[in-house]
Amino acid sequence: MDGAAVDTRLASAAPSRDGSGFFRRHGHLLLLAPGVIWMVLFLIVPLAMMVYVSFWTQTTFAIKPDLTLKSWATFFASETYFGALLRTLRIWLTVLLLTFLFGYPTALYIGQFVRNKTVQTILLVACVIPFWTSFLIRVLAWRPMLGKEGAINIVLQGLGIIDHPIEVLLFTELSVIIGMVQIYVVFMVGPVAFMLARIDDSLFEAARDLGASPMTIFRKITFPLSLPGVVVGAIFVSVMVLGEFATASALSGRKVNLLGNIIVTQVGSLKWAFAAVIGVVLTVVMATVITALLRVVNLRREL
């Protein structure tokens, strides 16, 4: 059937190919236009608007386009807001370090020690399955886990390890960190395991034949070659943790306020200019972090 249709068209093929010369040369512009226009209108314009509004004048319930630095001055003068910036940085660094420490051994096991592709896939899928539950419900599920009468305290008391329930587990900075590590650690495991699985086995054999100890092999081969994965994982984790507010508000009982939480409160009370200032601060922090991480490894060359 198809073959016959092709045959009849063969005759008329030559002229139509000449006519598509313009499309050949500039066709990619037509293909690109919808996506680029969409991104400029709904990504660049809003972000530019945020920077612009951060210099507007804030009155009680509205903003006026009279340029001023007042909102910026308030941000850096206020203990609450500047403190939130420092707290955000501290929690981000802690979570980043912990996701690396907890995630790396698992990635090492999946990527390097499991050589069966099926088992590898099963283990990675097992890591991803919790993501099929709604993010917010996953965060809330930590409450019955960490509470004074929560699962962890019940188990520890049942085992006789502790006499009294540990109370610092819930509604503290610690609970926010525990929750974030559990939610984001997989984003570190995935890229690292991927990079480790790509390492050629013969490299290890050669090193072993030359008498290198497992520790030397790890230091000289495994770790350097997995570094691009660590950087990609770190970018994922950083982007998500720096923009967080839901985990903090759910697990700290609104005691731990990150920059994201302050944006939400400010928008709630219609302090647009002020929310925009914090938004710009957050953007600058994020851009710095990503640029610094990309300095560590040249991703375009490595991937």
Partner: protein, 285 residues
């Protein structure tokens, strides 16, 4: 060699612990969803096992002091939004990736512009869009301002998936079709599309699930009619009840169903591609 085996065992044990850590809250959630209702709270101990909260979620439970989750409207909105986002971002992603198959000036700029969409934190984008809407007097609705941001978020994922698919794509097959005089439209329908279909499915799956669960972007731009994640976020401020956990278990099961459909479609497409290949060979012969 012995040392190596010891390390392997240790790492295997660690990975098991790690998985337990990942699944811990999930297991606790499933247990608490069977808490007695409506008095039982979202904590241990379980007063009495019951399916009260499941009935509550599905609207069969007698009225009580716990307000029911807005399953009817909010869930319909979320699913509609996720579906629309899926269609638009997959189309955009495929078009852009198709353009990237040939070299062109400014490809680096376009690449980073698109990828920026998944890198910018939702709360910033939501804030920016809310500011634009506020200043230009645009009404904020889940189907307008929130929808465009959902696409900004999911379109980069679709684009990257399609880019990976096109990278592995053997161009000579399409060229063969062109040489035989098959018009571009027909070539796309008959040759290109069947080959990229698995990629399109993955892109759709990504877009749908990301949009369905999206919430920082929707929070500022969704307007008065809430989507499901916003409805759940609303309960943060007040008391939470085990009905949320029952809902979590149900949606997880729903996701598994979705994943199974995806798997079936995927294997069907692979089988059909194989059949088509043998069919074509017979045609040629």
């Amino acid at each position: 060699m012995n040392q190596n085996a010891a390390i392997r065992t240790l790492l295997a044990l660690y990975t098991a612990l790690f998985l337990a850590f990942l699944y811990g809250p999930f297991v606790v959630m499933a247990i608490i969803s069977f808490q007695q209702g409506p008095e039982g709270g979202p904590q241990f101990p379980i007063i009495e096992w019951s399916t009260f909260w499941y009935k509550h979620v599905l609207g069969f439970a007698p009225p009580s002091r716990v307000a029911p989750l807005p399953i009817g409207e909010a869930l319909t909105r979320s699913l509609t939004l996720a579906f629309a986002t899926m269609v638009v971002s997959t189309v955009l992603g495929t078009l852009t990736a198709q353009a990237f198959r040939s070299q062109f000036k400014g490809s680096g700029f376009v690449f980073y512009l698109v990828v920026l969409g998944m890198m910018v934190p939702g709360v910033l984008l939501g804030l920016g869009m809310a500011l634009v809407a506020d200043q230009f007097g645009i009404d904020r609705n889940w189907w307008s301002t929130a929808f465009v941001l959902h696409v900004v978020y999911t379109y980069p994922f679709a684009f990257l998936v399609m880019l990976a698919i096109f990278n592995r794509f053997d161009k000579s097959i399409e060229e063969a079709a062109w040489t035989l005089g098959v018009p571009p439209g027909r070539t796309f329908r008959k040759v290109t599309f069947p080959m990229i279909f698995p990629g399109v499915l993955s892109a759709m799956l990504f877009a749908f699930t990301l949009s369905y669960d999206e919430f920082p972007r929707t929070l500022f731009t969704g307007g008065r009619e809430v989507t499901m994640p916003i409805a759940i976020y609303g309960t943060f401020a007040v008391e939470i009840h085990p009905n949320l956990f029952a809902f979590g278990v149900l949606t997880t099961l729903f996701s598994f169903a979705l994943l199974t459909i995806y798997g079936v479609l995927m294997s069907m497409s692979v089988r059909r591609a194989r059949l088509r290949a043998t069919g074509l060979q017979e045609d040629v012969a």
